[in-house]
């Protein structure tokens, strides 16, 4: 057990260092940081002085370690575009992205699971067919197209909801929230729906197929034979057993939520980190890109690590396999 946890921790650390080193090379070699920070009128001597001041003349190894050291303490340098500390910019945008992601994930869970359960239990009703079509559309349409469609219907045609921005926000210390104002909640609705649709369809398909599988198992037949009510069998036995993979997939999906948040935020001009990242890519603002990369890498590694450890805790078979094949066993899902 300890060996497994340690090896996983080590692997995660290696991945994290690799991501950080890529970020460093990005930072150092994509464009010249000095030229990016100074204007045309800066003299050559001044540029040279800035170069030494920034430590760009030091040996490469020293620079890598300095970058890593600063990164650990949360310092990613100054944005080329905005001339402000990158960390400050990211932290400022963090609440918008987190609020959007959490609301969309909750929406996906609250709608996707019941839809999946229903279409597994009542396979041949017309409502199930509607759900299937919705899920096919949700899984194959690109998220930005869904966003545009929602804007077209609810903002342009009906004029019910705003199409961009976050509405009025309330500051709670360094955190800003849109939950406390009506315009904030209205502004949240369409982006959250766009971001949640894909996760919702994924959850629905997963719950449906898992339920169908579990309903065929012997213990469900036995439970029926014991004369338990449908309700107990469906929700006490079947649904409960489908929830393990659902939880894992939901956790792993948090990663793609971040990716789709980039797109959703751009469509709705939602002032989050993803929108900031797109603007950084478009204007080659390398420090922002590097910092975003390191941060997203950290979130991903943490999620994957905790999912692995959770799996290990939940599934006793994994412990056997690991010792037999010696770490070669593939992760499921």
């Amino acid at each position: 057990m300890i060996a497994f946890v340690l090896s996983r921790l080590l692997q995660s650390a290696v991945v994290m260092v690799a991501v950080a080193v890529i970020a460093f090379f990005l930072f150092r070699y994509v464009g010249d940081p000095v030229l990016a920070m100074t204007g045309q009128e800066t003299s050559r001597e001044d540029q040279e002085r800035l170069r030494t001041q920034l430590g760009l003349n030091d040996p490469l190894v020293v620079q890598v370690f300095r970058f890593l050291g600063r990164g650990v303490s949360g310092d990613f340098g100054i944005s080329y575009r905005q001339r402000r500390p990158v960390t400050e910019m990211l932290v400022e945008r963090l609440p918008a992205t987190l609020e959007l992601s959490v609301v969309s994930a909750l929406f996906a869970l609250a709608v996707g699971i019941p839809m999946g359960v229903y279409s597994a239990l009542r396979r041949d009703t017309w409502l199930s067919r509607v759900f299937q079509v919705v899920s096919l559309i949700g899984i194959s349409l690109p998220p930005f197209l869904v966003g545009i469609l929602l804007i077209f219907v609810f903002a342009v045609l009906l004029g019910w909801l705003p199409s961009s921005g976050r509405g009025e926000v309330v500051s709670l210390g360094w955190w800003t929230t849109g939950f406390l104002t009506l315009s904030g909640l209205q502004a949240l609705l369409l982006p959250a729906l766009t971001l949640g649709l894909y996760q919702m369809t994924l959850l629905m398909r997963l719950v449906r197929s898992e339920m169908l599988e579990v309903l065929r198992t012997d213990y469900v037949k036995f439970a029926r034979a014991r004369g338990l009510t449908d309700r107990t069998v469906h929700f006490g036995h079947a649904l409960r057993n489908t929830l393990v993979p659902v939880i894992t997939v939901t956790a792993l999906q948090l990663g793609s939520v971040i990716a789709f948040a980039v797109i959703t935020e751009t469509v709705f001009q939602w002032p989050g980190m993803g929108y900031q990242f797109i603007q950084a890519v478009a204007s080659v603002d390398v420090p922002v890109m590097a910092a975003y990369l390191v941060m997203v890498g950290f979130i991903f590694v943490t999620i994957n690590l905790s999912a692995d450890l959770l799996y290990y805790g939940v599934d006793p078979r994994l412990r056997l396999e690991r010792t037999v094949i010696g770490g070669q066993a593939d992760r499921g899902a």
Binding site: G31, L136, S140, I148, G255, I258, V262, T266, V281, M289
Partner: protein
């Protein structure tokens, strides 16, 4: 003539023919995909205008509504955009670009992934461990993020003037390099199974070179799943291209593409020029849905478990 009938009959009665007849939706999807492919190949013949030809554009005709609208003009069936480009022609040329970018990047990702997967599964050992860890790490990041990153890096590395000309190459590289692990994973798994089989052992015994064994004996036996992944990935690649172009980091706005068109149309949605965004949006949705449906069907047909 008789052999033709015989062949047609055989196709009709074959398993693929049977499963096609049972699923009219798949037939429809195949027809839509075929229509897009024909339109893409024959774009210069089919499109009423040439959106690349800047001289033929007239700003007087900019923002013309579709033909059936009172203000519509007969030469622009689906209206024009803000530059006076014919929407229908731009969609046809855009589909051409989408399919070309999609097919090329799928080819790139597949050749890279299949090669690495074959070597990884056949050689095993340390090379396998390293490659699969890289694939693992890359797969845990969504393709769109990796594509965005590669796109951003290449834009920074390339000089500004050339980056517009090279945008299509950049986008193909970005999509190809961000989607290879899927193929590598699958091919590696099947190669490990094939490696232990007698025909491979026999080839080894008569002293064939490993590369020849992989290319002539193992490869044909692991191609089935690759075909399925490639079809599904074609839809993914088309979506990625449209998304990158929509975000403004893909195809430059002067080149007609579905993504850039949607980006332009997005700005005119509120002022009532709905046709600039609606028609390309519907076209993209139809194309992606059809390719996805075909991929689903192919997976079911080629999956021996479901037979």
């Amino acid at each position: 003539m008789s052999w033709r009938v015989g062949r047609w009959h055989r196709l009709r009665e074959s398993e693929i023919g049977y499963s096609l007849r049972r699923s009219p939706l798949t037939v429809f999807a195949a027809m839509v995909t075929l229509a897009f492919a024909v339109a893409a190949i024959a774009a210069p013949l089919l499109a009423p205008h040439n959106p690349y030809d800047l001289a033929s554009l007239s700003l007087v005709d900019a923002l013309t509504p579709p033909r059936w609208d009172a203000k519509g003009k007969s030469e622009y069936l689906l209206g024009t955009d803000d530059q006076g480009r014919d929407v229908l022609s731009t969609i046809i040329y855009g589909a051409r670009l989408s399919l070309a970018v999609g097919a090329t990047s799928v080819l790139l990702a597949a050749s890279l992934g299949v090669t690495l997967g074959l070597v990884s599964g056949y050689v095993g050992g340390r090379a396998d461990a390293v490659m699969m860890r890289i694939a693992d790490v890359q797969m845990s990041f969504p393709a769109i993020l990796i594509a965005l990153l590669i796109d951003g890096v290449l834009r920074g590395v390339l000089p500004l003037q050339t980056s517009d000309d090279l945008a299509i190459v950049v986008i193909i590289l970005a999509i190809g390099l961000s989607t290879w692990p899927q193929y590598a994973r699958t091919v590696r798994a099947s190669t490990m199974v094939e490696r232990a089989k007698d025909y491979v052992k026999a080839a080894q015994l008569i002293g064939r070179h490993s590369a020849a064994i992989l290319a002539h004996h193992v490869l044909p036996n692991v191609m089935g799943p690759v075909l399925v992944i490639a079809t599904i990935q074609l839809a993914v690649a088309i979506i990625l291209e449209a998304t990158l172009s929509f975000l403004g980091v893909g195809i430059p706005p002067t080149t007609p593409s579905l993504g850039t068109m949607l980006r332009i149309g997005n700005n005119f949605m509120f002022s009532g020029q709905w046709w600039i965004i609606a028609f390309p949006g519907v076209a993209l949705a139809m194309l992606v849905l059809s390719v996805n449906l075909l991929g689903d069907w192919l997976r079911d047909v080629l999956n021996p478990k479901l037979r």
